[in-house]
């Protein structure tokens, strides 16, 4: 029991070591075969972990059951198929489920290896010597561990461990194959890919084995046992080695006997399950020929890579399964969008992104492509320009199968035409709304070029996303706008002054004119009055001129002399040197 766990732990340790060693070698050498082998060891590691989990679970159960020996150390629950009367192993389904997922992981690993191997060019192998030495070490380790496992398995009479030992020996053979592939590469025969595929097949067998085991464990309500399927491989190998050795050495060399009767598939693999699985596999295989083309799509049918039918209407289509035919669906009617000068992340960009010259670049999900956006104007000024091109496939086939990366082709053409169109424009473009004709020109040029190249798409529209001076010059451009406003303001102020002052002046002139007219009228009327008065009084005077004259005279004298200081001097009294002196009124009183 303890020994079994220990051995399992040793096995896990070895697998970890082998995986990392092979991974490093693959990285150093660039060999696909070594890489595949590393994946292989990794899948072994997973399987070993699963096995250990199984053992530990079992032990726990045995302890709980309180059985002193759990039958014997050797026989696992699975090697002697449980009779129907025996109760289901508790927690069997968890174990099966884990094994099922692990098997999927391993199958995916196999797929990963194949896809890695099938695409991409064959790189020459570097550090050949390191690779060869490293892999040889791996072979030695695999050999030793396999012997160790077989030995312990025999001693403890555990077929599981013995089988695991043969599995490790299998790993040794794959490593030998890897060495051969490196040798072949050296000679110039590209075996790398073939060997890698073979290893992928090995990994797949491990996966399938675990996959089947998980189902068997589930249906039998027992523990998962990772064996069975290996027996087939072992027997093939045994047979092959036997034939070869018989012919070469005239001696039959055989793998150590394994009790196949106890491990034979039939024991754990019921006919019903087998038929069910086979049907499932066939259905999965045939499904690859059934395709639905959605309303917005067009289907293209390929037979061995050649186009057979390129206008499949929406609906259900049947084709021959995988290696023969395939149907590729193309979104032929959709309008695609190419961004030039910026990129947006549709998930992040808000619908109302700010269209302000410098703040715009701060919007989330918006990336300005400064190199792409900077363009010359005809007067050697620079602008920040970006635009969006909408295009639509004309034909489902052409743009996909004649052009690699149509999106980038359109982007590159659009960018170059944008630069070209702007290179013959003046700076006025920035200050006016004169962009429409530039966009029209860009669209025309782009459409013509796309047609000429036969890209199989149609340019639907070209939109100016953004066109403004470079950030460094934005403030100066803004100031020009302000200056224009100032210009208008000054003129307006002057106009308002004019509008205020002119009416005032006109009012003043009207007043003067009116005053003058009034004056004229007044003068005239007054004169007339005076004249009338004079004429009337003159008439009265003429009636008695002497008396009236005298009266007027005296009245006037009376009025004018009354109350005034007067000196009346008698000329006769004024004799010789006598003079009349006049003094100031105050001094005169006492003087006389």
């Amino acid at each position: 029991m303890e020994r079994r766990v220990r051995t399992s732990l040793v096995s896990i340790g070895t697998d970890i070591f082998l995986t990392s060693l092979k991974g490093t070698l693959a990285f150093l050498s660039g060999s696909l075969a070594i890489l595949a082998d590393a994946y292989h060891s990794f899948s072994d590691l997973i399987v070993s972990c699963t096995v250990l989990t199984g053992i530990l679970l079992r032990r726990q159960r045995e302890r709980k059951a309180g059985e002193p020996s759990a039958g014997s150390h050797s026989s696992d629950t699975q090697t002697t198929p449980p009779s129907p009367t025996e109760g289901a192993v508790p927690g069997y389904w968890i174990e099966s489920l884990v094994a099922f997922f692990v098997s999927l992981v391993i199958l995916y690993t196999a797929y990963e290896v194949v896809s890695r191997v099938m695409v991409g060019p064959l790189a020459p192998i570097r550090n050949v010597w390191i690779a060869v030495v490293g892999i040889t070490a791996c072979i030695a380790i695999a050999y030793l561990i396999s012997r160790f496992k077989i030995m312990v398995g025999r001693e403890t009479d555990s077929p599981a461990l013995v089988a695991d030992g043969y599995h490790s020996r299998m790993d040794m053979f794959t490593s030998i194959a890897v060495v051969l592939s490196i040798m072949g590469q050296w000679i110039g025969i590209p075996l790398d890919r073939v060997v890698a595929v073979l290893i992928a097949v090995m990994i797949a067998i491990t996966g399938v084995n675990l996959f089947i085991s998980s189902f068997v464990g589930f249906f039998r309500k027992s523990h998962v046992d990772v064996r069975g399927a290996w027996q087939i491989v072992f027997s093939i190998l045994d047979w092959a080695i036997g034939i070869v050795s018989e012919h070469l050495f005239r001696r039959r060399v055989s793998l150590p006997e394994i009790d196949f009767s106890r491990l034979h598939p039939r024991v754990w693999f019921s006919r019903r399950v087998a038929i069910g699985l086979a049907i499932l596999l066939v259905i999965i295989y045939l499904r690859s020929g059934v395709t639905t083309v959605k309303p917005d799509e067009t289907g293209v049918r390929f037979r061995f890579g050649a186009i057979v039918d390129k206008q499949l209407e929406p609906g259900l289509h049947l084709a021959l399964p995988w290696p023969f035919e395939k149907i590729v669906k193309v979104n032929a009617k959709r309008v695609y969008r190419v961004e030039v000068g910026f990129r947006t992340d549709p998930a992040l960009v808000l619908s109302d992104s700010l269209l302000i010259w410098e703040t715009k670049h701060l919007v989330k999900g918006y990336t300005k492509m400064f190199d792409e956006a900077v363009a010359f104007l005809g007067d050697e000024n620079l602008v920040d320009a970006s635009m969006v091109v909408h295009y639509r496939p004309l034909d489902a086939v052409v743009h996909l199968f004649k052009v690699n990366q149509i999106h980038e082709v359109i982007r590159g053409l659009a960018e170059s035409f944008m630069k070209e169109a702007l290179a013959s424009e003046g700076s006025r473009l920035l200050m006016t709304d004169d962009r429409a004709h530039v966009l029209t020109r860009m669209k025309e040029m782009l459409s013509t070029e796309v047609d000429r190249l036969g890209l199989g798409v149609e340019v639907v529209a070209v939109f100016c996303h953004d066109l403004h001076p470079p950030l460094d010059a934005v403030s100066a451009y803004r100031d020009v706008f302000s200056a224009r406003e100032d210009h208008a303001r000054y003129i307006n102020e002057a106009e308002s002054y004019r509008n205020q002052e002119l009416p005032r002046a006109r009012a003043e002139s009207e007043k003067q004119r009116a005053d003058a007219a009034a004056y004229e009228m007044e003068k005239k009327v007054k004169a007339e009055g005076d004249a009338q008065k004079f004429l009337v009084t003159a008439d009265a005077y003429q009636e008695a001129p002497d008396v009236t004259g005298y009266r007027l005279f005296v009245e006037t004298v009376e009025q004018s002399l009354a109350g005034k200081q007067k000196y009346i001097a008698n000329p006769r009294a004024n004799l010789g040197g006598y003079r009349l002196w006049l003094f100031t009124p105050g001094a005169s009183a006492g003087g006389f």
């Binding site: 170059s416 302000s482 003129i491 002057a494 002119l502 004229e520 004249a531």
Partner: protein
């Protein structure tokens, strides 16, 4: 047991042979079949191809679709010795698989070679043109298409002959000045804008001043005209009154003189007047001798 193993073995070998002996050539690719590394066949038509199984004959697949490529960004001198930073956008496709595999081997290497070629051709072409042929606001538009056309033609022949690549189109994609020059361009743009701003403001002030001056002039004119009219009107009034007075007074000058003189006495002999009267004045005739004695 033995029979099962044989059958399984045969199946495995058959599957292997089937998988590696039949090659589906996709519509997007050309395929070269090599026998122990020696190219023996080129297949450009899509469909099924039969070959010896791996590792006797292997397949090299080459994409024959149109591909975009950005050449290196480089700095070039124009004819008038201005530095331009340029990169071009190249559309190319592989047309001669055999030549391609021999000279450039894979797409990455092909793109590097092509980039080298186009960059150098671009440098040659740029050196012949002054910058004004790229950037112009004049008639006939920019000379960029002409230059790209030239580069396309000159690199096309070489690429086809040497690499088995068809250069479909070469266009200028990036087009700027070096970083250092850009700063001075920005400075110039700012200066230009500042000049314009100043001009606008000054023109505004000029316009405003003109309007104000014109207004002042008009105001003075209006007022002067008004004054003139007023004076004329007033003069007319004065003249009329003079005429009326004269006409009236003419009728009795003696009386006029009398009344006017008396009125004047009344006015100018005010309170401050001190009179020294002669006793001989007719006014005092009765003061010295009563009328009876006369």
């Amino acid at each position: 047991m033995g029979r099962t193993v044989v059958i399984v073995g045969i199946v495995v070998v058959a599957v292997y042979v089937l998988i590696t002996a039949f090659v589906a050539v996709d519509v997007t690719e050309s395929v070269i079949i090599t026998r122990f590394g020696r190219p023996v066949r080129v297949v450009t038509e899509p469909g099924l191809v039969v070959k010896w199984p791996d590792p006797v004959e292997t397949v090299i697949r080459l994409d024959k679709r149109l591909r975009p490529l950005d050449s290196y960004i480089g700095e070039y001198l124009t004819q008038d010795k201005k530095n331009l930073v340029l990169s071009s956008f190249i559309l190319w496709r592989m047309v001669d698989p055999m030549k391609f595999i021999q000279t450039v081997k894979d797409t990455d290497a092909a793109e590097r070679r092509l980039s080298d070629l186009v960059s150098s051709e671009l440098g040659v072409a740029i050196g012949v043109y002054p910058i004004s042929s790229f950037l112009t606001t004049g008639e006939g538009g920019s000379g960029i298409p002409e230059i790209s056309e030239k580069v396309t033609i000159s690199s096309r022949e070489h690429a086809l002959k040497e690499f088995g690549i068809e250069v479909i189109d070469v266009r200028l994609r990036r087009l700027t000045f070096p970083e250092q020059n850009l700063r001075s361009v920005y400075a110039r743009m700012r200066a230009e804008r500042e000049r314009m701003a100043k001009k606008y403001r000054a023109e505004g002030e000029e316009g405003a001043a003109r309007i104000k001056a014109q207004t002042n002039k008009e105001i003075r004119e209006i007022l002067a005209n008004a004054y003139r009219e007023a004076q004329v009107t007033k003069g007319k009034g004065d003249a009329e009154s003079i005429r009326i007075y004269a006409e009236a007074f003419e009728k009795d000058p003696k009386f006029y003189k009398l009344t006017r003189t008396l009125e004047a006495y009344r006015k100018f002999l005010d309170e401050k007047t001190t009179l020294i009267l002669s006793a001989d004045s007719p006014l005092f005739r009765y003061l010295e001798c009563p009328p009876e004695e006369r």
